[in-house]
Every structure is written in C-alpha cells, then in structure tokens.
Amino acid sequence: MSGAWPIAIPGSAAPDAPAPATPRHLPNRGGPANPSADAIKARFAGAVQRVEVIWGETSVFVERLQLGEIVRWLHDDPSQRYDYLSDVTAVEYRDPEQPLEVVWHLRSLPYRRFLRLKVELPHDGKTPLEVPSVWGVYKAADWMERECYDMFGIRFSGHPDLRRILMWEQYREGFPLRKDFPLRGRFSRAEQLRQALAANPEARYSMEELTVAQAFEDLPEAMRKRLSGGERTGE
C-alpha cells in the first residue's frame, strides 16, 4: 500500500542555494534580508510600513487590512511558496506607547526561508483589536488564532470558530497575557476556585458547542428538540 504522493524534499525549489549551515556571529541589526521582503514591497506597494532585520531574521511590518492578501500571495506565488505556517502570536510591550504587535512566522519549505510578518495595533482607542484570519490559507492557524484570542483578546475575522481554548469558555477574569492583567489574576484565590468549580466544562455539551461543532444539524429532530429545551446530556 504506497502513498499517492512523492517524497517532498525541502529546498528543492532552489537547488543552487548553498547548503544550510548553523548561523554564526549574526549582527544585531542589518545584514542580508530575506528576499521575500523586497518581493512583498514590489507586489504590494504601500502595504509595507517597514522591514527590520534583527539577528538575521527578517520582520516585515504590514498594514492590518492587507495582511490577508499578502499571506495568500506568499502562499500561492511560485517564487515565494510559503507553504508552512509556523506560528501566530502577539506581543504586548510594557510601555503603553508601543503598539501591540500580532506576529506570523512563515516558512517556505521549497526555498528554505523563514519570514516574520507583523501587524501593529496601537493602543489609541481607534484601532480595533482585530486582524484578518489566515485560516483560509493555512489550517494550522485554527488553534493558534484561538489561543491568541484567548490570551490577548485579539479577534481574527474570518476564523470559523473563535472561542477560548486554554481557559474555559465562561472565564471572566480577562485576557491573561495582556500587560494590565496581574500575574495572579484579578480575583481572590477562593473566588477563582469558586468560579472554576462552577464552570465545570465537561459536565454538559453546550448548545454553542454542538452548533459550532456542526453536529447539531445532523442530529435527529427529536434529539434536537430535547436539547433546545435545555436537556443536559452527559452527567
């Protein structure tokens, strides 16, 4: 029983590139940038705010609303082929003057490249805490974006199922990784315990869960009626 696909070797799209080696003596700033940075600047004029090369890694700061197009192009274009999404995360600085940055780490396996895209969300009260989702391009973004929402409160528009993943869904203390969230949480320990015991996440299958899981439409009529009437399944 053999697979229907041939073995994919990373770096196959750039056979003349030098063999990868352990990076040594990287400069703090400057040095050769990832060629994709210039390619994005050429293709999406005006979307790129700036490019930084720190310790040999290229970060491209782009406009929030154009991120979706840029990521789609990076994925589909044969000269870029960023087929692997490594990470989606966010950084909030201690200084409130600095904007909150949402960060995407992309890898091109055929070209053996690594790129970082950033979108800045200033704390000016005008910029909504929302960025486009890349779930349509990379299925890997599913849980990563949910975690980013859970920890920071950043909404990803276009994500099919944006809800908390690490904390329980009715968690009320806030978004833990924000800088205004204290290390030990906002409530007293007894209150945290009380809320946690009341949440009891696996005791029932909630309406939202069943709807979101798209299992609801497949259920027979009688069962759907009983569940809408508030019947609790499970314990």
């Binding site: 030990r184 949480g185 209150e191 315990l193 009380r194 696996e202």
Partner: protein, 210 residues
C-alpha cells in the same frame, strides 16, 4: 514521621492495644482489615504532568510498585482506593478532580505527589490551584519537583502506616465533608486564601521592577 529512616512496621502491632475498652476481637479485626487494605491499595493515577512520568517510572521494573500491591492501576475511580494526584492542577481541571474524588467509594485516601499538587509549586499564577487540599482532603504530601521514585515510595509507605493505624471504633473516620452548596467550596474561602498566599521571595519578584 520525624527523622526515621524507614517507617517501622512494628508500630501497627504495638498500637493495637492502645484504645481503651477495645476488645481483643476488635483489635485483631482492625489489624486484619487494615493489613488487607494497606497491602493492596489500588491507585488511581490522576497524572497530569512531570510527576506522572516519575509515577510511571516508579511503576516500571526498576522501582516496581507491584511489590506493594499497587501494580493494578485503576483508571476508573469506582474501583480505586488511593488517588495519587501527580502533577499540577490548573483551575480548569479542578472540577474534574473534585468529580473523580467524589466518584471514588470509601475507604479512600489521597496522596498529593509533587510540589505542584501539594501547594501550587512554582506556579504561583492565575491558572493553577494552589494546592489540591483546597479541593479534596489529602492524606500524604510527597514533596519534590518531581519526587524521586524512592520519595514516592516513602510516601506510599507512610500512607500504608496511616492505614494500619485506623480503628473501626473511630466512626467519624469515613465521613466525607460536604461542600458548601452555594459556593461549592468545602473549606472556608478565607482558609483557601490563606493557604494560597504567596510567601517568600515570590512576592518580591513581581514588585522588583527590575
């Protein structure tokens, strides 16, 4: 336990006649029942994190829990005697732990294995329960991060000794504490806050400003 190198197994026999007015039959029966229970404590490994790996290592061939009658891990709480909470318990897992404990039938005991289960360990933050004794009653605390298998075995032997000291005449022994129906907590909220207070340097870590 003090500074004894090994729990003494003469202790149970010596204590057998300590109770005033206990008949010879009752003490012999106590001894028999406790010996049976202590020698075949079926553990329910509530393993979450690193301590669970050391628990597995204790159960494996080098340290071998089987010689203490504990090789039959019962993952169903209904058939288990001792809940070994191995690993950190975040708040999201707290109702699960409580439910598992309530599903275990009496007689049951609890070993809190590791620093995180005993006191929250190094996780003094928004997410982790600061000691499972705020949720369920604990019989033996095994410190360590993670405790060596020998440490866990010492804790198990301590529990066996505790079991051997039980008396049937102590009718309140198997009473379970009911949680407060409104809050679901079974020790007062103030006690929980006091138990969870940060102590030592961890307080200053966040205020150092450096």
């Amino acid at each position: 336990m003090g500074l004894t190198a090994r729990p003494s197994d003469n202790l149970a026999r010596q204590d057998a006649s300590a109770g005033a007015g206990e008949s010879w039959v009752a003490t012999r029966l106590d001894f028999l029942v406790n010996w049976g229970r202590a020698g075949s404590l079926w553990p329910m490994p509530f393993g979450t994190a690193c301590c669970a790996i050391e628990f597995m290592a204790t159960a494996a061939s080098r340290f071998d829990l089987a010689r203490f009658g504990m090789e039959r891990m019962s993952f169903s709480p209904r058939q288990a005697d001792v809940l070994i909470c191995a690993g950190r318990v975040p708040f999201k897992l707290a109702p699960v732990l409580r439910r598992i404990w309530m599903q275990m039938p009496q007689p049951k005991w609890c070993i809190s294995m590791g620093a995180c289960a005993s006191s929250g360990g190094m996780f003094d933050n928004y997410a982790v329960v600061q000691g499972i004794d705020t949720i369920i009653p604990v019989d033996v605390y095994v410190p360590g991060c993670p405790p060596r298998p020998e440490g866990l075995l010492y804790g198990i032997l301590m529990l066996q000794e505790k079991v051997k000291r039980e008396r049937m005449s102590d009718t309140a022994l198997r009473n379970e504490m009911d949680p407060d129906p409104k809050s679901g907590l079974y020790i007062p909220a103030q006690a929980i806050d006091e138990l969870s207070e940060p102590f030592g340097n961890s307080v200053h870590q966040t205020r150092s400003g450096l």
